[in-house]
Symmetry: D2
Subunit: 272 residues, 4 copies
């Protein structure tokens, strides 16, 4: 790691032409920077992680372009002999509402069958890989049918600003379970100890912040003033709500708005 909370303060103050001050004022400054999205001071901290990740998950990871990467080469070396396996109670059901998500688990019986099938196919793939190597096939070609569950390793180096952006996206509930586990460990176990003031500010102003669109602000204004019918009329007009069999059914955007109302302890107007 390079830098810590104090490096952020130092960098922000170069733009201000003054030196470091007391702990209290430093904390206020960091929180101000996070709140106002003055991101460049957070780029002054850098961290390098040695990670071991299934290639499937790595495919998502590597989409974050602002990082330095050195990955284990299966052109140069024999592929790591380890694949991600799934416990019988860990097979997740395809989500209904969200096409790219999962919800709940399959029953344990099905799970057992799937886990067994997983082990078989992984062993078969490895056997084919090793047969190829034995026959003299180049490593770069032999690997072509390894399963995506095969582990890879990498050094991954990134600055704190871009790391927080990674965490914001990958700790989110709609991130895939597997990468979310990595993100949670990086966030709660590593970053929180490395830059504790920044981490708290991140939780307060980014991860747990709630954003209301221009339209939601208008609706919320109505609701705060008790103009419930006006809000409902607006939502119907925008087709956020559609009458189905006598009840108002919310579309995706209305459901998102409803979830935000809940965090405010407010009732969804279409459920009154």
């Amino acid at each position: 790691m390079m830098g810590d909370d104090s490096s952020i303060v130092q960098a922000a103050r170069v733009s201000r032409g003054t030196g470091t001050k007391g702990r209290r004022q430093d904390e206020e400054l960091i929180r101000y920077l996070m709140r106002q999205r003055h991101t460049s001071p957070f780029e002054m901290c850098e961290i390098k992680l040695h990670v071991r990740v299934p290639m499937d998950c790595w495919r998502q990871w590597i989409r974050h372009r602002t990082a330095n990467v050195n990955e284990y080469s299966t052109r140069y070396s024999v592929a790591i002999e380890a694949m991600a396996s799934t416990q019988p109670d860990h097979w997740r059901r395809q989500a209904k509402g969200n096409r790219q998500g999962s919800e709940g688990s399959l029953d344990i019986e099905t799970g057992r069958m799937l886990s067994e099938g997983e082990q078989n196919i992984q062993q078969a793939c490895r056997r084919v890989y090793e047969e190829r190597l034995k026959a003299g096939v180049a490593r770069e070609q032999a690997r072509k049918d390894l399963p995506l569950s095969t582990y890879t390793e990498a050094y991954w180096k990134i600055d704190l600003h871009n790391l927080l952006h990674f965490l914001e996206l990958r700790m989110a509930p709609n991130a895939q379970y597997e990468i979310r586990q990595y993100a949670n460990v990086i966030g709660y176990e590593i970053v929180s100890k490395w830059v504790p003031i920044t981490w708290q500010a991140f939780l307060d102003y980014r991860l747990n912040a709630v954003q209301f669109s221009r339209i939601e602000i208008e609706l919320l204004k109505d609701l705060c003033a008790g103009r419930v019918q006006s809000a409902l009329d607006g939502m119907v007009k925008m087709e956020w709500l559609k009458e189905k069999k006598g009840v108002l059914a919310p579309n995706l955007e209305a459901q998102e708005f409803g979830a935000k109302l809940e965090t405010l302890g407010l009732q969804k107007p279409w459920e009154r």
Copy 2:
């Protein structure tokens, strides 16, 4: 595509405060920019490609960070039902000298056996994938044991400067065969027609240029002046050459130097 050869000229001339000139002068300017590595004018051209690539190859492709990418999502949709297959005479032998390369082909009998094994394992993987989907497993999880040979699709958008950098690396003889085929098509079929002046300059000053290190320049100076023994002594001292059973054996760097001497029509001094 956005821009062409003339956009490069236009951009270079903004830095010069003058407008476009005749074809001849434009060509001279582009060649000058390429030669002097004034790269920013080449960034004024942009191209978007729709590519279909096996994931194995895509893993290398995506390492080029300065591009815009939208990839087919196997979280959202069922994975493409196509995998890269290998003809019996296309199984490449592991290279001896270069740990990360291949050289020559395996015999056709072995090739036939390997191609059959390939087909079997790919079908088995797909079957497992589809069984999982049928059992209700979320797509994001079901895909975990798809082979790396599975095709993906993407829109890939990049500026000309970064594209030429990609091509320089991926058209090189030490790039993996599979990605080299894509690079060759992009270069010779697309870029050469899109920006013909730039393409010729790229071939002359980048792809087919030869670089001599400070040390090689010293050795070449000796050789040009007929001081062969002096060059040999230098190479022995640096351990580029080692006596093995009465002959001088070149190390990797000496072999690279030897290849450059060949392009100059010069004999390798240790082979005289």
Copy 3:
């Protein structure tokens, strides 16, 4: 320009494996992408602008790193003979609350004096520059004392996602007046016509969205439930409010919260 609203849809759908649909569904998709911060499809559009900007302003502009730039070179050519001048009624007063802002204008008398002084110093600087050139000084050195108000020109090429990020920051009320004028023209005159659906989504979900921090959400929850005293107590405890001469004075963060309450039509609790 390269691409438009439909390119965004096309790119998003590659990740989904389906083609373009009707106008209504395309609009919904673009708005969904903007709302959920799926940014990569917006990178499929690219724009190139030819801009003329005072160097002072360009210094801020160029801090946005994800763009391609070719700037007029005052090493190669004589500097552009134009400097940004200020009308007598356009001299802005230093802001009190915000150290890096301005508020209101100076009186016209002072303004006249300052505008005259501006013209004099600019002419003097240009005279010195031209004397140096006449004496044979290299352009790269002669330019060293040109004022920051000297105009420069550049081709500036950027993808739509990064352009929107630029606009979000530079159209904000706390951006400097000069660059804000450029941002407004780019946004309202150019982008709004180029990608009208995206522009509207940007206004709704980004530019005019309001974000509440975790802490503000807690306070708002209290206020919505009528627990005004609880909210006030919380704010005092966090030192957002401090008693000064019998009244509760809000700190910077409380003032920001107060402004958000206003957009909701709610009273600031410390002003009741």
Copy 4:
């Protein structure tokens, strides 16, 4: 600083699946990586510099986009009261051949006059700046006519690969004198001590390497084989040489080739 020579080795070996080895083998590996342009391991080292630079020079510096920057803000604070001044014997003459360069110095008499003029205009600019501040003008506006010679300060953080690229361009003879001085200090005083093996490899394979274009290789081949006339004919045909008053005058590209021949101890064929 983060990392050193051994971090590069470690990163390269993750891609190879093996740990660190002896000093000799580490050196060989680093030199191999530099030679083969395997750049990613060099990104594992990071350095942060606190620099004080005239804005004129900073304008060139900041064009290198792959760095993290926090600059002194003249919106927030009063501008640094220091400007780059020029000794009477340091005024450089405009180059004849190279439109964007300088060569030699002006005579000391002219130099004295220019240095005096420089001091006067800088003082006048500062006076105007301070009068504006005194009249209450916002700092962000008052600064608009500060000369480009005004010093700024910044924290500048960059990885080693991108730093070496910066140094390659800015230590080059055609880089402007002012930034070249900074580059030389960073290179020879800082990087050389931080990562000595990498620095030596950089000098050997990058900074002091010589590249020959495809065309130059052809010409050199002729010259090495003693086919001088063939080389000359080729150069005339390509218009690298033009007869002027009975002698062959080389164009810019031929002059560049001539300089390379000199490093090889070879005569320029058109001067025989």
